[in-house]
Every structure is written in C-alpha cells, then in structure tokens.
C-alpha cells in the first residue's frame, strides 16, 4: 500500500488556480491569455489524471487522509478535501476531459480573438474545472456547498458567455434558476444530516442512515434526489439542459455535458451508498424508473432535433438515464441482500459515467469544430463535410459509434455490463425485481436502437452527401489543437472499449468502499482478454477479440473481389436523377424527413403539428412555392414549467406591492411586527 499522491493532486489544483489568475492578468494580450489559461488547464488535468489513476490503481485512496487546503476563518467551515475512491474516480473523469478540452480550447478560443475576452473565457473555464474537482473531493458540507455554488455560477457565466444573443441570456437564467432550486434541496438535506450527526464533516455522515428515523431518511433522500437530479438533468428536471448546452461555447458544452452533470450522479452515489446506507427497495425502484424514463425520452427528443448541439444535449439526458438505471439496479440489489450484483450494477453505472464523459465530450468538440467551420448549428444547412473535414468526421464517427453502444468501443462495454446486471433480475427472489429489472433492460435495448438511428441521422446529415448551404460548401478543417483535443478523446474511447479489464481494476477500491465487494478478479476472464458477468447466467464478451476479428475480416471483401469479382466489368455513370436536370442538394434526405417515421410512431408523445402552404398557377401538382412548417411539442415545457412560471410571476407581481419604495412604509412593517410580537408575548 503506497502513500496517496497528494502533492500531485495539490499541484493540479494549483495549476487550475494559476490558469485562472494568469488568464485574468494577461487578459489584454489575447494570445498569451489563451495559451496560459487553457495550457495550464490541460497541465492541471494531466497532473490530476496521474494522481487519481495512481491512487486508484494502488488502492492508496482508500486510506487517504483529509487535507486542509487553507486555514478557515469562519467558525463552522473547514476547507478540507479527502480523495476517497469515489472522489478519485470522478476526479479521474474530469481530469481526462480537462486534458483534452484544454488543448482543444487553445484552437477554439482563437475564434473569439478581437470579439470577446478570451482571458475571461479561460479564467472561467479554469474556475469551473477547479470548483468541479473540489465538489468531488470536498470533505465538509459547507465547503462542498461553496464549491457547488461556485461551479454553478461559473457555469452560468460560461453559458451566457455569448450574451449578445437573447437565447444565451435566457438559457443562462433558466440554468441559474433551476440550479438554485436544486441547491435549496441540497441545503435542506444537509441540515437534516447535520441535525442527526451533529457535525458538518463528511466523515460524520458516513453510514448515518441507521440512526435516522425512516421517515426523515426518506425525506432526506428525496431532497437530495431533487437537488442532484436537477444538476444531473434527469426527467422531469432536465429542461435547462437542452437550453444551456447548445448556446454555451462548444468547449464549455463538452465540459458541462461531460462532467458538470455528473456531479449529480456523484452526489447521488455519495448520499445513497455512503451516507444513508441500506436503501429501502423503493429508492432503487424510483431511481431505476426515473433512469428508464430519462433514457427513453431523452433519445426520443434527440431524434426530433436538427440543431446538432441540442441533439447532443438530449443525448446527455438519455445517457444520464442509463447511468441512473445502473445505480437504481444497484440500490435494489443492495436492498435484497445481493452485494455482488449491487457492485456489478454500480460498476456498470459508473463505467458508463466515464464513457459518456469521453464520447459526449468528443462529440461536442466535433460539433464545435463543425460550428467553427460552418457558423451554424442547424444540421439542415450542413452536409458533405466529410470531404472537407476529414479528421473531424473520423473522430465524430468514432464518437457516434461509441454512443450508439456498438462494439468494440467503450459505450458497448458499459451498456453490456448494465444489461448483464439488469438481466440478473430474472433470478431475483422478489417479484418486483423480477418485473422491473428485465423491463428496464428491454427499454434500454429500445433506447440503444433509437440512439443508433439518431446518430445515423446526425452523422449522415452533417457529414455525408452534398453541402446544403454556402457555408458548408466553403468549410475548412479545424486547426491542429482542436484536432489534437478530439484525438485524445477518440483514443480514450477506443482504449476504454478495448481494455475494460484495466479500468475494472480501478473500480476495486470503490466497490469495496460502497458495497464491500471486489469484483475485478471475477469480471475479468480468459487471462484478461475478456470480461465476464458474475453469477450462473452471466455471459462473457471480449471487445478486444471483436476488434481483432474486425481487423482480420477487413481484407475479406478484397479477397472475395480478387477471387470472384475480377471478371465482372465496372461501369461508371451518373446517378439517376428522375429525369430532372441534375441532382441538387434540395433533393437530399433531410434530418426532418429521416426522423418522420419515428415521429409518427410516437405521435402521442410529440403531438406533431405540420403546416403546408403551396402556391400554384394552374395545377396543384406544379407548385411554384411551398412553405412547410413542422413542430413537435415538449410536453414538460408546456404542461409543467410554463404554468409554474406563470404562477410564480403572478405571485411576484402581487408581492411587489409590498415594495413601496418609501422608508416610512418599511419602518411601519418593522414597527407593526415588533408591536405584534410584543402583544403576542403578553
């Protein structure tokens, strides 16, 4: 057992802080601010990655002590961090992204030269990295909340960074409001925990659940579920996500979608596994149900989008759902006394967390490169980019394959583990488990298929066929740093997919801490070449084997052509154009058209509206102009949030009468209260 590499960790935190300070100091010199800010972010990420991975690999994080960052001047606040296995795991995730996105941003921020303050962007970016890392490591309730709030505020500033656009400001405000509603839930939850334990330190909260009365424990869980659920973006608290992610600068979207929403997952795991202990069965059931609904609705709404970044944002909701399915199943197994299965499901959920972080960040970076080149987020105006942006197209394709959970990439591994744990429900003793788990498994299968369809659309419409606009026709490949950032994440996706056994080893201290099990020995089969699910019905799969097979089969078509195809003659001719004069981009399949069959299947949900106006001279078959409009409804927006917003605004207008603006009136309020209290005291 070696010592925890705390010096490395502190250096990483210092690098973020220095990046922030440096970017601010040199904000007048854009190039310098860009290099220092994002360079240090990337360096901090590298240091952090080294420290977290080595801590997890050596198991030294299990015994890591509390480190006081700065002496506290406030009586009941302690600025201390402790890198326990769970914190280390999430720290590893954010560090990985910091490395890649930091490098990418050096290229991306050049687009802001002369228009916006690059120094401010870099400083806020570093602040977001620093505060999010501290959220994962904080060891004290108030420190955690401070880091949480700084994270929310810096994210708010970054979301509304392009504040000239009304859309950005609106999205920022929505994020701000939702985030603070969530924080209110967290504060209440912490107050309950404090009352029960008499301390604000996290070590005092550990396995507190037994000492709380059942009702209070449930209230506590619900408060935290709400608070962390808002940040995670689970349905129905997700509405800020598709609004905020598209309008933020793309490097920020990647970080937010990759890590920021994972703070919600971190919090949920921390609360329900570490603190509240031995969950009742309905907790797991609720999380599983929410996860299933989020996954399904997320992918369905993603299918209807033709704004590339909004599409990716909806996919974040889907993937959060998949992660929650793993967590929910784990909690159910824990309740029914099957710790090994609980550990398996937890690993599945957390594996998907790091996978989603890597491929979603990759996709957002790709979308950022496309945005950089075409200046539009609307997929209907793209097309044909694969010829002009070869590398970006390749990286985006890898990301799309990974998120569609196709072997041998990383999305497949974690979804396979999720399936394995969900399908273990068949062997469960309770009928509820037997019903819920396989049902969720089926929904996950549906989700996977829909996600694949959605990325066929996303990749096909964006990168293939002919350019649909002048911008797309003149698009240029992204600069080298942007490609390098994407390449790092592409490598991570491939690595996490091909060598899951290496990552599984890192989960050992984590599952030991939370469920008392160590599974890496059982999960790794065939001398580390394959992974196998535990228990009798468990299957085994080797992504490495699949990849090798693919590589081996690659020459097969060539061989077949050499053997049989040489005698057939090849003809080259124009594509058939229905007898019209040449093919135009208008004849191509559109994103809207592609998703139409699914829009019709799920029309109860989407309530699609379409409006067609055609003008013609002599016959409706020869229209001169056609105007086509199609809308789908966002039921949560129209059914829940709009009435809620209306109510709040109305109540605020009423209350505004109290704010008369006159000193006498305010004094009268105080005076009347005082006299009333005195009279009551009589």
């Amino acid at each position: 057992m070696s010592e925890f590499p705390s010096t490395l960790l502190l250096l990483a935190l210092c690098a973020y802080a220095a990046g922030m300070a440096g970017a601010l100091v040199f904000r007048r010199a854009e190039r310098l601010a860009n290099g220092i800010g994002f360079g240090l972010a990337s360096a901090g990420g590298t240091l952090g990655l080294a420290s977290f991975v080595s801590a997890l690999a050596s198991g030294s994080c299990a015994t890591a002590g509390s480190i006081q960052l700065v002496p506290s001047l406030i009586p009941f606040v302690r600025f201390s961090i402790r890198a326990d296995p769970l914190g280390c795991f999430f720290g590893m995730t954010i560090s990985l992204l910091a490395v890649a996105i930091g490098i990418y941003s050096i290229g991306y921020a050049r687009g802001y030269y002369g228009r916006k303050s690059v120094g401010a962007l870099a400083a806020l970016f570093n602040l977001l990295l620093l505060s999010t890392t501290l959220v994962f490591l904080a060891d004290h309730a108030w420190f955690f909340l401070m880091a949480w709030e700084i994270m929310a505020l810096s994210a708010y500033c970054l979301v509304s960074f392009d504040h000239e656009h009304e859309e950005s400001r609106g999205a920022g405000v929505l994020f701000f409001v939702m985030s603070h509603a969530g924080t209110a839930g967290l504060i209440l939850g912490f107050l309950i925990l404090h009352q029960a334990s008499g301390t604000w330190g996290f070590d005092g909260f550990a396995s507190l659940g037994g000492r709380l009365p059942a009702s209070l424990r449930n209230v506590c869980f619900l408060l935290f579920l709400f608070g962390f659920g808002v940040k995670a973006g689970m349905v129905p608290l997700h509405i800020w996500l598709p609004a905020a992610h598209p309008v933020a600068p793309s490097n920020v979207s990647a970080l937010m979608s990759g890590v920021l929403i994972k703070t919600g997952i971190y919090g949920l795991v921390r609360v329900s596994f570490d603190w509240l202990g031995a969950p009742p069965s309905w907790w797991g059931g609720a999380v599983l149900a929410i996860g299933t609904i989020s996954a399904l609705l997320g992918v369905l709404f993603a299918l209807m989008e033709h704004d590339l970044k909004r599409l990716l944002a909806y996919h974040s909701i889907e993937n959060i759902g998949i992660i929650l399915m793993g967590l929910g199943a784990s909690m159910m197994f824990l309740h029914w006394g099957r710790p090994a299965l609980a550990a398996l499901a937890l690993i599945a959920g957390l594996y998907h967390t790091i996978n989603h972080a890597s491929f979603k960040a990759l996709l957002f970076l790709g979308a950022g490169a496309v945005l950089h080149a075409t200046h539009t987020r609307n997929m209907e105006e793209m097309g044909g980019l694969a010829r002009r942006m070869r590398w970006t197209a390749l990286f985006f394709l890898v990301g799309a394959v990974a998120i569609s959970a196709l072997p041998p990439l990383n999305g497949f591994v974690s979804e396979w583990l999720t399936y394995q744990s969900l399908l273990q429900g068949f062997g469960a003793s309770s009928s509820l488990l037997r019903l819920m788990l396989p049902l969720s498994g089926a929904m996950l299968a549906l989700t996977g298929a829909l996600a694949a369809a959605c990325f066929v659309k996303a990749f096909g419409i964006t990168f293939l066929a002919q350019p649909r606009s002048a911008h797309a026709r003149s698009a240029l490949e992204a600069p080298a740093p942007m490609l390098a950032g994407q390449a790092i994440l592409t490598a991570a996706c491939v690595f996490l997919g091909l060598f899951p056994m290496l990552l599984l080893r890192l989960f050992d201290p984590l599952t030991l801490q939370l469920t008392g099990q160590q599974l890496s020995q059982q999960l790794v089969a065939a001398r580390g070449m394959a992974i196998a699910a535990i228990a009798p019905q468990g299957g085994a799969v080797s992504t490495l084997g699949i990849a090798l097979m693919l590589v081996c089969l690659l020459p097969a078509p060539l061989a077949a052509w050499l053997l049989f195809g040489r005698r057939t003659r090849m003809r080259v001719g124009p594509t058939w154009d229905c007898g019209l004069r040449g093919l135009t981009p208008h004849m191509q399949y559109t994103a809207t058209g592609f998703s139409k069959p699914l829009r019709m299947i799920f029309k109860a949900l989407f309530r699609p509206r379409r409006e067609v106006q055609r003008e013609y001279d002599f016959s409706p078959y020869f229209a001169t102009t056609i105007r086509f409009e199609s809308h789908v409804e966002e039921p949560f927006q129209t059914r829940i949030y709009r009435p809620l917003k209306w109510l709040v605004l109305r109540a605020s207008r009423r209350l505004r009468a109290l704010q008369a603006g006159s000193i006498q009136a305010y004094l009268i309020y105080i005076f009347v209260t005082l006299v009333a209290l005195l009279l009551v005291a009589l």
Partner: protein
Amino acid sequence: MHPPGSTEIASQAITFMAALMLVLQLLMIPQRMLLATIRLFAIQSFLLAAIAAVVAYHHQASHVYVVAILTVVGKVLLLPWLLNRLVRRIEIHQEIEPLLNAPASMLLGGGLTLLGYVVARPFTSLERLGHNTLAIALTLLLTGFFLMINRRKAITQVLALLTVENGVMLAAVALTTYGMPLVVELGIFFDVLVAVMVLGILVYRIRENIASIDTSQLNQLKG
C-alpha cells in the same frame, strides 16, 4: 459596601431621571421645531449619562463611568453640534412636517407608553435600582420608532433613531448591575456615531439629487 439609605436615594434618583427622560420623549412627539428637538435630545442624553453615573457610583463600577463620560461627550455635545451644523448648512425649513397631526400623535404616544408598561410588568423584579426603568426604556424604543415613521425629513429620522438608542442604553444601564460589557457599549456607541455621519452625508446627497430631504419622495427612485 453601601452606606444604609444610599440604595434608597440612588433608586429614587434613577426613577426620577428616567421619568424625566420619558417626559422629554413625549415632548418630542408634538414638537414642530427642528432645533428644539435636537435640544430636547441633548437633555435626554444628559439624563441618561447622569443615570449611568449614579449606577457607576453606587456599584463602584468604574467602566460605567466611561459610558457616562462617552454619553456626555458624544450625545450631549458632539452629535447635537453635528446635527445643528447640518441643519444650518443645508438651510432647510425649521418646521417639521409630521405625517400625523399632533393630537393623534400624542394619543398614539400615550398608547405606546401603555404598551411599554404592560410588556415590562413581568420583568420588574429584575430591576436593581429604580422603578419602571425597563418600562421607560421600552417606551423610548417604541415611541422612537413611531417618531421615525412620523417624520418626513431624514434628519428628524436620525434624531428618532438616536432616542431609540437612548432607550436601549437605559435598559442596559438600569437592568444589569454593571451595564453591558464595555466593548458592546463602545460598539453601539460608535455604531450610532458612524450612522449619524453617514446619514449626514446621505442627507446632503439626497438634497442635492432630489432637491429635498423628504424621504417620502424617495419612492420616485423605484424602478
């Protein structure tokens, strides 16, 4: 420690002076002239200092003397002088325009005095020296508050706030044997001093900006 009979005398003196403070406060309610109000406040503060001195002499508590001296220096001399100067400098109407007319204000003042006495009745046993000092302190507080509401000009509101503070000091001196800890009293004292300074500047600015120091016109600033 105490010569026989001295407790009785001290108690009588404190009761008398506290009652005078109350009378002065009630005189302030219908008072229409600004400079007269400042003078009334100065006398009231002097009485407070005298009470503190009696308490200090009786209990041989030297730090209460400090309170007495500070009260004389600050509230009897310095603050009235500052306020006088302010009134002269900004050349405002000497006349105070209350929101409520004098008879109604007096009636309300009487009601508040009654409330103060009723509220303080359960606590009379806590008083070491003098009678009904807590009741008078509470009344000063309540009527001071009412004065603040009933005045339009910022300066008169400052004055009312100072009488509230007098009430708080009276309660502190009369109820506890040795007064509040010196630090606390010093804190309150400087608080008030700074408040007056700030308000003085503020009054000046308000006048410059909206050409009046009538605070009921401040609601024009509302967005």
